[in-house]
Symmetry: C2
Subunit: 347 residues, 2 copies
Amino acid sequence: MDQQDDKPSGQGRKPITARELAQLIGVSQSAVSRAFTPGASVSPKMRERILTFARELDYQPNAIASMLSKRRTNIVGIVVSDMENPFYPALIERLSRELQKIGLQSLMFNVTKGSNIEDQLMALRQYNVDAVVIVSATILSAATLDWATENRTAVLVNRTIPDSKLTSVCCHNSEGASAIADHFYELGHKRVAYVAGLAHTSTNMERQGAFITRIAELGLTLAANLDGTEYSYESGYNSALAIAAKGSVDAIFFANDILAAGGLDALRDEAGLRVPEDIAVAGFDDIAMASWPHYSLTTFRQPINQIVAATVKIIRTGSAQPGRPAKTHLISGELKVRKSTIGTALT
Amino acid sequence: MDQQDDKPSGQGRKPITARELAQLIGVSQSAVSRAFTPGASVSPKMRERILTFARELDYQPNAIASMLSKRRTNIVGIVVSDMENPFYPALIERLSRELQKIGLQSLMFNVTKGSNIEDQLMALRQYNVDAVVIVSATILSAATLDWATENRTAVLVNRTIPDSKLTSVCCHNSEGASAIADHFYELGHKRVAYVAGLAHTSTNMERQGAFITRIAELGLTLAANLDGTEYSYESGYNSALAIAAKGSVDAIFFANDILAAGGLDALRDEAGLRVPEDIAVAGFDDIAMASWPHYSLTTFRQPINQIVAATVKIIRTGSAQPGRPAKTHLISGELKVRKSTIGTALT
DNA sequence: CGTATGCTTGCATCCGGATGCAATGTAGAT
DNA sequence: ATCTACATTGCATCCGGATGCAAGCATACG
């Protein structure tokens, strides 16, 4: 019953502070602070002495206090939503790793249809993150975003928003969609189809627009143009079946690889068609699965490394701060031709 | 050239503080603080008045300052590493969403083989996160972990560490592996195989151990027991080919679904076997892909919702703080029987 | 009508570092 | 040897809220 000697739910002993350390060494707290600040005005011997003691006494500067006085958090807020599509985990993992390399941590903000987005984003402001990266395709109005990212560096990744003043980094979607169209043309396909992802997203609209335009230029027929409500395997599966049922389509361009994967399986396993002999299939993104032997999917590769590099550079140089003109950085991708459009049939 | 009127790299105007707000309204700063603190001692009218003005003037409490004085960050550090396996993104997304519901944000710490793990974890301590969740299978010694999580709530998810005093939440791996063994037995298989994931991980060892034990109890033959160096599609693919080459195996249990997916594709597309007629296949996790028609993979489902719920509860109640006895929470899973072990052949 | 009880509110101070400025010390110049 | 210039170090204060304590005030009760 007597637990008065230690807090029942306490956090153990609390860490040593700069002032305590300073007192133990017999220097001022400022000296300690400076010893831990690269480039600060301290003599090498003083710094050495302090760092030695610090190591010994297990002192580490409190990041929170530092944030408060420096008015800088070294934290980047990442707004995400579509973690079902492997492209995003891959992107986010790489991004957060690269940010860590330059001393920035990643605070994740999941926004989902179910939740109140404004509430979620409210936290973004309160935490005073140094920068915000938005990799979510979820509907966010330009106004909401401008509010949430007010006065701080902000980057949209893999999407653009027409009326927003935000900088964005995107794969060159229209280039990619055109490349797919060209590829279909070169293979001699005449009647092609497009299967959309989430309809209103910029990625979908750009890919769809460029594909249809290029198809027309090449004199091919757009035999089907399916609306989409999501970027999912199931959606691709069902769309492919619908197209197969109508018949007379040579090749399908799916708005991304997940859709294409669903489509491929539907065409082969359920519709009984041979890919690519009976019908060719292409996707977009080049997620890991696309190169699996089973899928071997022709797709337009989004260069994640370059996208991340561009994003990190923008954050590092602060070239996306309010007042700066918004800029859209288009990253070139690369057509990866695999067996879903050429070569021998699978299975 | 003349940009002297505003800071070139500045963050725009800075937000209003509690003191400023208080002065404008004519109350004390403490009143403002209390108005934003649920349960604090303020009259309803006072709170109302302050909140109204706050809304009007776009005041929001600075979370950093709050952390410093409350000695509480409302941030949970999540240590991750294996984002290639879809199971983890799914888990993390759900976890971070549930945490958000109770007002906690997620700070991601990616640890990778390439990077110095101790350096990464150093940040964990500096940020004073309220709790740490480790969902990484990467090698972390008990000592490293104890140091990184010293004095704070810490939970291991989907793994255990023998000599560590950390609480963990795991799917009941041995139950699952036994269930798979029973399932193989009931189907009449005699010669079965195990394909390992990352060898030293607790998940792999538990699944392997229980499977082999149960197999022996049932009088089945362990015809192959392949070591593994990673949980990847390619690894599963190659292992399956090795087993197919040896021949005379009725059923394979892969340590997880990604391995099983690779294995399935290899057996069907490359080895030319029918699944499940010639050989049955089972996995573990029940990732989204497992239920795709193409794979239709029999697997032991890890109940992500329950795992997350248990984890969140531990964090919420603080039942994993230093001093408390470490406990391993075993969550029961469920065998999902699909076409990779029963029914008609696919393709 | 005086006083006890409790609720509100403000004051002062703390959380742990960062930093401008002044004080001190040292070396180099004359 | 004297003075100037610069490198170090410490002091005091600030960052923006949280909170213990005491003063202020209203309601309740005798």
